[in-house]
Amino acid sequence: MKLSVRMVAVAAVLATAACAPQTSGNSSSDKDEKTGTLRVWLFQEVNNQPKEQVVDSVLAAFEKEHEGAEVTVEYIPVETRAQRIKAAFNDPKSAPDLIEYGNTDTAGYVKDGGLADVTEDFGAWDEAKDTDPTARQSVTVGGKVYGVPYFVGVRALYYRTDVFEELGLDVPKTQAELIATAKEIRAAKPELYGLAVGGAYTYGAMPFIWSHGGELATGKGGSYASAIDSAAARKGIEAYTSLFGDDNCPAAKCAAMTGNDTITAFAAGKAAMAIGGDFSHAAVEAGQVKGKYAVVPLPGLKAGSIAPAFAGGNNLGVLKSTTHRTLAVDLMKRLASKEAQGELFDAMGFLPTFSDVRQQVAAKEAFVKPFVATLAADTKFVPASPAWAQIDAGAVLPTMFQEVVSGKKDVDSAAADAAKKMNDAFGSVG
């Protein structure tokens, strides 16, 4: 009997020692030190050297202004950013003060309690008034601002000028023409994909849904409802999935492709057209098709219209746990200022988030014109809900496209299932 008493005692100790899973106290810091070391995490780009130079010149000016303040910048790999940033939220002590983050992650990070509310600072910043509305939306959650836009990325239609010339084709002006042209090329040149598409290429597919008047979700603030199964959205899904097949991009290969895969195929000369971003420019230039391609905005339904594009890009944000809030906010504004964004464009080709700066750079560099035109036409953003991270990670939309193109489900039931999963996600975070 003695033994069992002892066991009960041990069990009781264990139970009281840990009656709930661990949680880190990530409350906002009271301290606001004006000297010391500021830690900054920026993303490591494929060719990072020019970016470092732009950042370094900003830092030099910053350190001159603030005596006793020092900045250390760490460039973190994009692939592992999710783990790194989660870890930073979990352990405020070793977290940075300022981070660069993908703009689709905003709502998720805010819910995680990681980002500081900078609404007032953003409002008081004189340059903020020229920030374009979609970029502003990408730092806003529930009416509050959690960072500043750093650059935007948008996609347009890359096509092979030599193939079009050889076959005597015109650049498509409508979505219907785009699909017809893609199939015509494939028929004439079976070794090429007409338009390279991917079942896992969500942001390449969205313009088709948006151009038909469909939406990912409707609602504002915290409460969203999926609209992916609306009649308009289903038409868009129909149009996009019609591109998978032996007459353009065989489902056996293209169903699993991602956006990067389609660009790789285009750059390697295996596709006559692809939907790529301004950020894909370098990869295509490095491929076999250099000098044999051009870019136009992705056509919409009506002749001359541009299909609404997804406004991707990155933001800068101050962490809630920072002990140097004032300094961090100042550095954030300097890094994302009009001047620095202009320099970043010259160095990396990343499009500025200020409408006026963007117009200026478009006048200098011909290749950005179709992208700037796309941005000027209409851009859309993903729902500003923390559920989006879950929907994205759960591959809800790729699953939907893949179910349709592999013939497992028809458009209606695949869209209905996706809408249910999205609503579950919206409901679970509400």
């Binding site: 264990l14 949680t23 990530n26 939220f89 979990n90 995680d112 169903a255 699953t399 497992k408």
Partner: protein, 329 residues
């Protein structure tokens, strides 16, 4: 003596060998004849067990306890980093899981896939073990080296290499078979088949080496007698080797069941995280997608607990059945 052999000599020989080699029946638990020290009060056995218990407790019991704990809370990234308070959910995660049609689909796929892997691995491993005893030194060495090479290859490397072998555009398999640009990972069954090949390839060496060692321990005279009685290879395996190697086969079967039920790397790498529209998901990958890809740690933990219970149940039932048949491990 489950299988009648029909030849008297073989019967006698086997009986005598068996009597000589296996331990007396039921020796460890119920032997009443040998004088034993008084049970209960003595602390000595616990003292000896203590180091192992501490290690097991720290490395096994505590994580499992944490897993169970997390699975009854609402615990996502927001709770971990303190954005929202942690709330107790009871069996909420479990009821969400069990009402999700995809979970049952994935569970079924996992069971069928693991069963296919176990059967194939054991078949290949045992067949090659027997082959090893039949061939001369040089081919034996070659086979051993090939198997050890497969065994030593990390799962990621193996999966990538197999994927390349079967690549639609550049893979040598398609070229040799003249399949054009057939995509192996597109269809559900062909993708599972591809993964099965890789799993068998990297796990048969364990079975082969273990069974080979077992066969070596079987006295040659028994096999000789069986051969003299005119038993075929298959018959010798079924009536002589398999019954004698039973304890070894039990261990490798349980090991294989556990490994193949938990397969992760091969599926994750070869089907790109679960295949087209999630058609190739197995429980472990499904748990990873829930827990880490979408930060629903509590839901992932619930899947982990369910997997743990299933594996425990399978193993216990299996051991129990064996005990009923009077075998000792």
């Amino acid at each position: 003596m489950t299988v009648p052999t029909g030849t008297g000599v073989l019967e006698r020989r086997r009986a005598s060998v068996r009597g000589g080699f296996s331990r007396p029946r039921g020796g460890s638990r119920t032997s009443g004849t040998a004088p034993r020290p008084r049970r209960g009060r003595s602390r000595t056995p616990w003292l000896y067990l203590a180091p192992a218990l501490v290690v097991l407790g720290g490395l096994l019991a505590y994580p499992i306890y944490q897993l169970g704990l997390i699975s009854v809370f609402h615990y996502t990234q927001a709770q971990v980093s303190g954005g929202e308070p942690t709330t107790f959910e009871g069996f909420g995660n479990y009821s969400r899981l069990f009402s999700d049609g995809q979970f049952w689909e994935v569970l079924l796929a996992t069971v069928v896939f693991a069963a296919a892997c176990v059967v194939s691995t054991l078949a290949v491993g045992c067949a090659l073990a027997v082959l090893l005893t039949r061939v001369r030194a040089v081919p034996r060495l070659a086979l051993m080296l090939a198997a050890l090479g497969a065994w030593a290859t990390p799962a990621i490397t193996g999966s990538t290499v197999w994927l390349f072998l079967f690549d639609a555009d550049f893979g040598p398999v398609n070229r040799v078979l003249g399949l054009g640009d057939h995509a192996w990972t597109y269809g559900r069954f062909s993708a599972f088949f591809l993964v099965l090949l890789e799993v068998v390839w990297c796990s048969f060496p364990f079975v082969m080496v273990t069974v080979y060692a077992g066969i070596r321990a079987v006295p040659a005279e028994v096999l000789e007698a069986a051969a003299l009685d005119g038993a075929s290879q298959w018959r010798i395996w079924r009536s002589v080797l398999a019954p004698m190697l039973r304890p070894i086969l039990v261990v490798v079967t349980i090991q294989s069941v556990i490994w193949d039920f938990k397969v992760f790397t091969q599926i994750y790498v070869m089907t790109g995280g679960g295949g087209i529209a999630g058609q190739n998901l197995v429980l472990n990958v499904y748990a990873y997608q829930k827990a880490f890809a979408s930060s629903q740690y509590s839901l992932g933990a619930a899947i982990g607990v369910v997997m743990l219970l299933i594996l425990l149940a399978v193993t216990l039932v299996y051991l129990r059945l064996l005990r009923r048949q009077g075998e000792e491990l």
